[in-house]
C-alpha cells in the first residue's frame, strides 16, 4: 500500500503554490463603436467596415500584433486560437467581418465583431488578475484614441447585451478543483460563489460537471463597481476558493489516501494503455495527473508539464504538431498515441 504521508510531507509545509490550483486568469473588456449596429444585427458590410476601422487602430497602436480575418483562417488555425483562448468559437463562426488581433506572446488580444464590436482580453498566470487588467486596460486606452466608443455617463460602455453594460469588464480565473470534487464538496462551493454573484462555468462542459474539474470563476455584475474594485473582489474570492481547495487536498491525503491513490492510479494506467482517447476523456485523466503532480505523488512530473499536455492534446494543437488534417476518429487514435508516449515512464510514488 502507498505510504502517502511520507511522500507528501505536510510538516515541510510546501504550501502548494497558488498556481497549482489557479491555472490562468484573464480580464475581458467589451467595447462598441458609436452609430454602428451591434454585430448580431449588423449587415456583412457594416461588420467589414468596423473590422477595418478596428484593425487600422490596432496597426497604428500595436504594430507588432498579428491580425487576421476569420475568413482567412483554416479550421486548424481556428482551433489553435480557441485552444489558446485568443478567440472564441462564437467569433470563429463569424465568417463575414469577424477578426482577431493578438500580441505575439499571447498576453493580450482583441476579438472583433464577436458579440460586441471589440472584446479586448488580457491574460496572466495564476491569480495575477491585476496584471491581466493592466494589459487589457493599456490596449483599450491606446485604441480609444482612434475609436469613438459608445459610452454614456450613466451606463458607461454600451454593450450588445445589457448583462455587460457599465465597465464591460469580466475578470475570471481558471481554478482546478479536483480535491473538492473528490471530497464531494464542490457543489456547496459553487452555490456559495453564486450567492456572492459570481459566475461559475466549466471551461468545457456545463455547471458543476465541469470537464476535468476546471472551473472559470468570474464577476457577474458590470455596473456599479469600478474596474479595480471588481478585479480585486474576484481575486479575493478566488484566493479563498484556492485556500479551500488546498485544505481539501490536505484532507484527502490525511483522511482518504485510498480514494486519492485509486483516482491517480486508474487515470495513469488508462493514459498509459488506451488506444482511443477523446479530448474530454483525456482532460479527465490529465486532471487527475495534475493533482498528483501538485501533491508530488508522481515521479518526474511537474504541474506545468501537465498543463502543456492539456494544451497539446487538443484537436488544433495535435494536428498542428503532426502537420496533418485528421478526421475525429483519427484524432482520437493519434491523441492516445501522443499521450501514451508522454506518460509511459511515469510512476506513482509509494
Amino acid at each position: 500500500m502507498l505510504n502517502l504521508e511520507s511522500s507528501y510531507s505536510l510538516r515541510r509545509a510546501r504550501l502548494v503554490s497558488a498556481d497549482d490550483i489557479a491555472m490562468t486568469c484573464r480580464v475581458r473588456l467589451a467595447r462598441n463603436l458609436e452609430r454602428e449596429r451591434f454585430p448580431d444585427w449588423a449587415t456583412g458590410k457594416d461588420r467589414e467596415r468596423v473590422l477595418e476601422t478596428v484593425c487600422g487602430a490596432v496597426m497604428r497602436e500595436a504594430g507588432e500584433f498579428r491580425v487576421s480575418a476569420v475568413a482567412a483562417l483554416d479550421e486548424q488555425a481556428r482551433d489553435v486560437l480557441c485552444e489558446m483562448h485568443l478567440a472564441s468559437q462564437d467569433l470563429m463562426a463569424r465568417e463575414v467581418g469577424g477578426g482577431v488581433a493578438y500580441a505575439p506572446d499571447g498576453s493580450v488580444c482583441v476579438m472583433v465583431n464577436e458579440e460586441d464590436h471589440l472584446r479586448i482580453q488580457g491574460f496572466a498566470k495564476g491569480l495575477e488578475l491585476e496584471a491581466a487588467w493592466r494589459a487589457a486596460d493599456a490596449l483599450d486606452t491606446a485604441l480609444e484614441r482612434h475609436l469613438p466608443y459608445a459610452w454614456t455617463p450613466r451606463y458607461g460602455y454600451l454593450t450588445a447585451c445589457p448583462s455587460n453594460v457599465g465597465t464591460g469588464l469580466r475578470a475570471g480565473a481558471m481554478l482546478h478543483l479536483l480535491g473538492l470534487r473528490l471530497l464531494g464538496e464542490i457543489e456547496a462551493v459553487v452555490r456559495g460563489l453564486e450567492r456572492m454573484r459570481l459566475l461559475v462555468r466549466g471551461v468545457a462542459g456545463e455547471g458543476s460537471e465541469a470537464a476535468g474539474q476546471i472551473y472559470q470563476v468570474s464577476n457577474m455584475d458590470t455596473l456599479g463597481r469600478d474596474e479595480a474594485e471588481t478585479v480585486g473582489r474576484v481575486k479575493r474570492i478566488c484566493t479563498e476558493v484556492v485556500r479551500q481547495e488546498y485544505q481539501a487536498r490536505v484532507r484527502l491525503v490525511r483522511e482518504s489516501p485510498l480514494v486519492l491513490a485509486d483516482c491517480l492510479a486508474r487515470s495513469l494506467s488508462v493514459l498509459q494503455s488506451a488506444r482511443l482517447m477523446s479530448t474530454a476523456e483525456a482532460l479527465e485523466f490529465l486532471s487527475a495527473l495534475r493533482l498528483g503532480a501538485a501533491l508530488g505523488l508522481v515521479t518526474r512530473l511537474k504541474v506545468a508539464d501537465v498543463d502543456r499536455l492539456i494544451l497539446l492534446m487538443q484537436p488544433g494543437h495535435l494536428q498542428k504538431s503532426l502537420g496533418l488534417a485528421l478526421t475525429p476518429e483519427e484524432r482520437d487514435e493519434m491523441r492516445a498515441v501522443f499521450l501514451r508516449r508522454r506518460v509511459a515512464s511515469l510512476r506513482l510514488k509509494g
Binding site: 454602428e36 484614441r145 450613466r154 451606463y155 458607461g156 450588445a160 465597465t167 469600478d226 474596474e227
Partner: protein, 181 residues
Amino acid sequence: MKCELCQKAEAETAIHRKVGAEEQELYVCKACASAGAGPEAGATPEVEQQAAEGCQAVGGVAAFPLMGMILDAAFEIVGRAAVAAGEASCPVCGITRAEYRKASRLGCPACYEAFSEELEAAILDLHRSLQHNGKTPERCQRSRQLAQLERALAEAVQAQRYEEAIALRDQLRRLGGGGAC
C-alpha cells in the same frame, strides 16, 4: 430610500415578482407599484438586504440563458402601457421591441435610449445598480463631469441646500452644454 425601479420617487411599498424560478422583492414608489405587480406589505429592511445579497435570480450557470426571462419580467412591469400603444422601434437601427426581446441582444448603442424604460428595470435586475463608476474614455471626460454636477445639483436642490445648488449651477454654466458622449 428611492424607488428601485424609477429611482425618482420615494419607495413606499414592496412588490414581489417572479424572475425564472426565483421570487424577488423590490421597494418601489406608488406609481411603479400600480404599474406592476400588486403591492404587498410587511417586508423589513433586513429581508430586503438578504434578498439583495442572496439573489440567485440571475445566478450562476443559467445567468445568460435567463436574460430573456429577466427582460420579460421587466416588460411586464414597465412595458404594458407601451406595448398597448404600439410596436416601438429604435430610430437609429430600426429594430423593434419584439425583435430585441426575442434575441436578448440590442441592435445598436442608441437602443439604450429608445428602450430606456424597460432596460432600466432589466439592468437593475442584472446588476443591482444603475450608475456606472469606472473608466471614462478621454473624449467623454467632460460629459462625465457634467453628469456628476447635474446629479449633485439635483441632490442639493432636494435637500434645500440652495447656496451649494447655486454654486453647482454656475459651474455647470461655465462648462457649457451637453457633451459628445
